[in-house]
């Protein structure tokens, strides 16, 4: 059943803003898109930075959970190009330095150790440095960035953008120890210097396939995580002509496209899933196939070729590999398939390395191998030790690591101020009416019928010579502003005052998407008499009693395009369009 609400609270309004709700870091998407539409790129960038910290990076390589959630994709087909608009804010911003948080000269006496200079720990540093904390980052590589540097290929994310946004944080005054892998947590704790430790070491062990012949294939079979890092750090510069990538996720796409740039002419991705079951984002699959990469589905690797002068993989054909979303391969009755190749890259998942967490450091692990994180968010069984990003909850993505970083920073701040991290401040909701007068709204409420703008790209024949050539050129300001107009302003909320309603039907009649219904008062569990049937189980419903309790005003939020017609036709102001701003709690906000 859809979630129903008689009361409109912060969570209700937050869920109406599908993109912001879906974003792990709860970036206020419609708000920054409006700023872009107005040409205020610097403001849009800074607003982004508040929640997602790396707008230039994430504007290129985010997993974009916001886009499948976008209301536009339900109203028509394609969501707003939210991610690429974020990049536009980064591309066209002015000088942001004057607007960055001020770092206090006088520090408090708390030093926080951050293990791993990836997105999670960098976010913690970003949040805690302005509050007067000191941070020390321990990084095993020579550069900061973690997986953003070692795993994301430079043709998707230029080093310049990466350096710029990482340096913004490091310039807040973080102390970074490079080439300083922490091998013993106990030893670090024994220094008695740190008030809290954050483990943000990511998931840096690529999974291997234990198949016959694997050992003899060692010279031509690589693990994706290591291989991508070796390419990124310049240790690997070439690859064989025929490359097979095993796996159906985004890493497989990155490996295949990288191989193409290192000289491979025949790149094949082989996945056991059906095409629609692959975990890779549809746009990454699209980008890979566009570059001539072949994807073969329903093949499960069986063994490596072991004969001399013969390299390749044996597969068995599958009928299916999942049953009710659980791994359950059903083999086809067919001969094994041999795919010859020169090199194989295994992109079959990754996990975290907790080897440096010694016995006696007070950190407990659950049976699934992940640390036990108590009711206090991201706090381990040793209250001084926090986990963030992939190291905390298993492999996810950059934006989730950023979101975790914010949570950990807040937890640490609360913890070190003697408060319980589980008693978190509520998200702050501010609302302001956007109705200026009769038929006048202060935001652009008309429905812009326009297809999603494709992002301009470097032509295919120019992109493979240099590995660093960024494929996407990004939106021009003109394209960005056109795309920005597709946003439906879901943060301008329809707010209902049931006492003012005279049940005249004006809103019900005018609503273009049949979102509103006035029905006789009835059971909320089985609503009858709706103008249009409910299409989604997940969407929230507003229910208000009107007409002395005799009737219900029901709003199905699913397809509301926030055009404001209901508020404009309402004779009593019972419907109001109010701009909502939802600020989730962050470190320092409780002071």
């Amino acid at each position: 059943m859809p979630k129903k609400s008689m009361l409109q609270d912060t969570d209700y309004y937050h869920q109406v803003i599908d993109c912001q709700w879906a974003c792990p870091a709860h970036t206020p998407v419609p708000q920054y898109i409006r700023l872009i539409a107005e040409g205020k790129y610097t403001e849009a960038y800074l607003l982004n930075r508040d929640s997602n910290v790396f707008p230039g990076i994430l504007g290129r390589v985010c997993d974009r959970p916001c886009e499948p959630a976008c209301r536009r994709s339900r109203v028509e087909k394609e969501p707003v190009a939210i991610c690429r608009l974020k990049r536009a804010s980064a591309d066209f911003k002015g000088d942001i330095a004057p607007f960055l948080p001020k770092i206090p000269k006088k520090k408090n006496d708390k030093i926080i150790a951050l293990i791993g200079a990836g997105p999670a720990c960098l976010t913690v540093a970003n949040d805690l440095l302005p509050l007067g904390y000191q941070v020390e980052i321990f990084e095993r590589e020579k550069n900061a960035g973690g997986a953003m540097r070692s795993q994301v290929p430079s043709f998707r994310l230029p080093r310049k953008v990466l350096d710029e946004e990482i340096n913004t944080i490091l310039d807040f005054g973080a102390t970074v120890h490079y080439s300083a892998e922490v091998t013993s947590l106990k030893e670090l704790l024994n220094r008695k210097k740190y008030s809290a430790v954050v483990i943000g070491t990511g998931a840096q062990i690529g999974k291997d396939l234990d198949l016959p012949g694997r050992k003899s294939a060692a010279s031509w079979c690589h693990i994706a995580f290591n291989w991508l890092a070796s390419v990124a750090f310049g240790h690997v510069k070439t690859v064989g002509k025929r490359v097979i990538v095993v796996g159906g996720g985004n890493t497989a796409m990155d490996c295949a496209r990288t191989a193409k740039r290192l000289g491979a002419t025949e790149v094949t991705i082989v996945a056991p899933e059906r095409d629609i079951e692959m975990t890779a984002s549809p746009w990454e699959i699209h980008d890979a196939t566009k570059e001539g990469i072949i994807i073969k589905n329903l093949l499960l690797p069986q063994s490596f070729a072991t004969q001399k002068n013969k390299t390749g993989l044996y597969f068995r054909e599958l009928l299916s590999c999942y049953h009710q979303k659980r791994w359950d391969p059903q083999f086809a009755k067919a001969e094994p398939v041999f795919l010859p190749c020169d090199e194989v890259i295994l992109a079959v998942g990754q996990r975290s390395n907790y080897g440096f967490i010694d016995e006696g450091s007070g950190v407990s692990f659950a049976s699934n191998g992940l640390p036990v994180l108590g009711p206090h968010r991201f706090q381990s069984s040793n209250p001084k030790i926090f986990f963030a990003g992939d190291a905390a909850l298993g492999p996810k993505n950059i934006i989730s690591a950023v979101a975790d970083g914010h949570e950990v920073a807040l937890s640490i701040d609360l913890f070190l101020k003697g408060k319980s991290p589980s008693e978190r401040p509520q998200a702050k909701l501010t609302m302001r009416s956007e109705v200026l007068g009769y038929l006048q709204l202060s935001y652009r409420s008309d429905y812009v019928e326009k297809d999603r703008q494709p992002v301009p790209e470097v032509p295919l024949d120019e992109r493979f010579d240099c590995r660093d050539t960024e494929v996407e050129k990004g939106f021009t300001t003109k394209l960005a502003q056109e795309e920005a107009q597709r946003c439906l302003n879901c943060d301008v909320q329809t707010v209902f005052s049931h006492n003012a309603c005279i049940s005249c039907d004006a809103c019900v009649d005018i609503c273009p998407e049949a979102c509103l219904s006035i029905t006789p008062n009835q059971s909320h569990d089985n609503l009858q008499g709706l103008k249009a049937p409910l299409l989604s189980e997940d969407q929230i419903l507003f229910i208000g009693e009107i007409n002395k309790g005799r009737q219900l005003m029901i709003k199905d939020e699913d397809l509301c395009v926030h055009c404001g017609a209901c508020a404009q036709r309402c004779p009593t102001g019972a419907w109001d369009m109010q701009l909502s701003r939802i600020d989730v709690a962050k470190a320092g906000c409780h002071e």
């Binding site: 005279i502 005249c504 036709r569 004779p571």
Partner: protein
């Protein structure tokens, strides 16, 4: 907002039998005050025509002058329409209907158009039995001229500016019954569950169908001392019968499903509506009882709504006149006039 309405429609609202979706029955954006009952009537007409799968080009919308008469622009954008002189809509309807009897005629009018300046036109339109639906959006006020009392304002009610109405009202329902309307109903703009099936039934009826619709004027007649405000009608609406359903010629199926309390009413086009009578002795075919019932409600607090009278064997103007079944406008001129030879023969017969 007009923009969104023109471009979008809910994906589950599917095509009707003639391949149209609800939005195809919309009109221009209303310029009436937000919350006007007339807008609800427009929406109800659009729903009724969508549900009946009528093709807009087979419908003519006719109106006079007034807030109500403006609404002809706000539904069925692609239907024919004529916004005529104040109170003269029945004459225009007569002419149009004579020329093209096979079209559907929707007259939208108000209490001023119907009961003041156009009273005589209205009565004679009913008398002639034009095959049309005549909707009177009755708000008891002259809204377009800022809220003076109209001919349907109840005796003793006060206007928004504090004046008391010294005149007895005209009840268009009683006039329609007396003048021979074969389908008479009263409804409320805020009650689409009743209004939409009534409009559908009226459209399916052959003969003069009259629906008086209490339609609150939010700007001038929605105050506490009004008896045509949203609140008043919501509190005091009573029903002759509740219309259970509107079905298209499937009586045997319905007979199985419906208990005996429902009365099936067969419309002249073979379609059927079901009435659940509120009082046991209510008989929708008894004109005398209908008149008594209406008179008994005059001066009462309650407003009686629903289908009030239906003539069993209704007929229309064309049957009275014995005209041809074809649309007159479609008949070739040579068929309508005498040839030279025929004329000569007639003339010679007098010599």
């Amino acid at each position: 907002m007009k923009n969104a309405r023109d471009k979008l429609s809910h994906p589950s609202l599917t095509q009707n039998k003639v391949g149209l979706v609800p939005k195809d029955y919309h009109g221009e954006m209303s310029t009436l005050c937000g919350g006007c009952g007339h807008d609800s009537i427009s929406a109800a007409i659009a729903s009724a025509c969508y549900e009946l799968s009528l093709e807009p080009h087979t419908i003519a919308k006719l109106s006079g002058i007034g807030c109500s008469s403006k609404t002809a622009a706000y539904f069925l954008k692609s239907a024919h329409a004529l916004n005529s002189v104040h109170g003269r809509m029945p004459s225009v309807a007569t002419g149009a209907n004579l020329a093209a009897r096979n079209m559907k005629y929707l007259g939208v009018s108000g209490d001023g158009d119907t009961c003041s300046i156009g009273l005589g036109q209205f009565i004679h339109g009913v008398r002639r039995g034009i095959n049309m639906v005549y909707l009177c959006a009755n708000n008891g006020i002259y809204g377009l001229t800022k809220g003076q009392f109209s001919a349907t304002s109840s005796l003793g009610v006060t206007s928004k500016n504090g004046q008391t109405n010294p005149y007895v009202p005209i009840d268009p329902i009683i006039l329609a019954l007396e003048a021979g309307a074969s389908f008479v109903a009263r409804s409320f703009s805020g009650d689409k569950n009743q209004l939409v099936p009534l409009i559908k039934a009226a459209i399916s009826h052959h003969g003069f169908a009259f629906i008086d619709i209490i339609s609150p004027c939010v700007t001038f007649n929605n105050h506490a001392s009004s008896d045509k405000s949203y609140g008043y009608v919501q509190d005091n609406q009573v029903y002759t019968a509740s219309i259970q359903d509107y079905v298209e010629s499937v009586p045997e199926i319905m007979a199985e499903q419906t208990p005996g309390r429902l009365t099936s009413v067969l419309l002249s086009n073979g379609e059927e509506i079901f009435l659940k009578a509120v009082s046991e002795d209510f008989d929708v075919y008894d004109k005398e009882k209908a008149l008594q019932l209406m008179r008994s409600f005059s001066g009462k607090k309650e407003i009686l709504t629903g289908l009030i009278y239906l003539e069993k064997h209704s007929h229309d103007m064309h049957q009275t006149l014995g005209t041809t079944l074809e649309n007159l406008r479609d008949i070739d001129l040579s068929k309508l006039t005498l040839s030279e030879l025929e004329l000569k023969e007639i003339n010679e017969s007098f010599s």
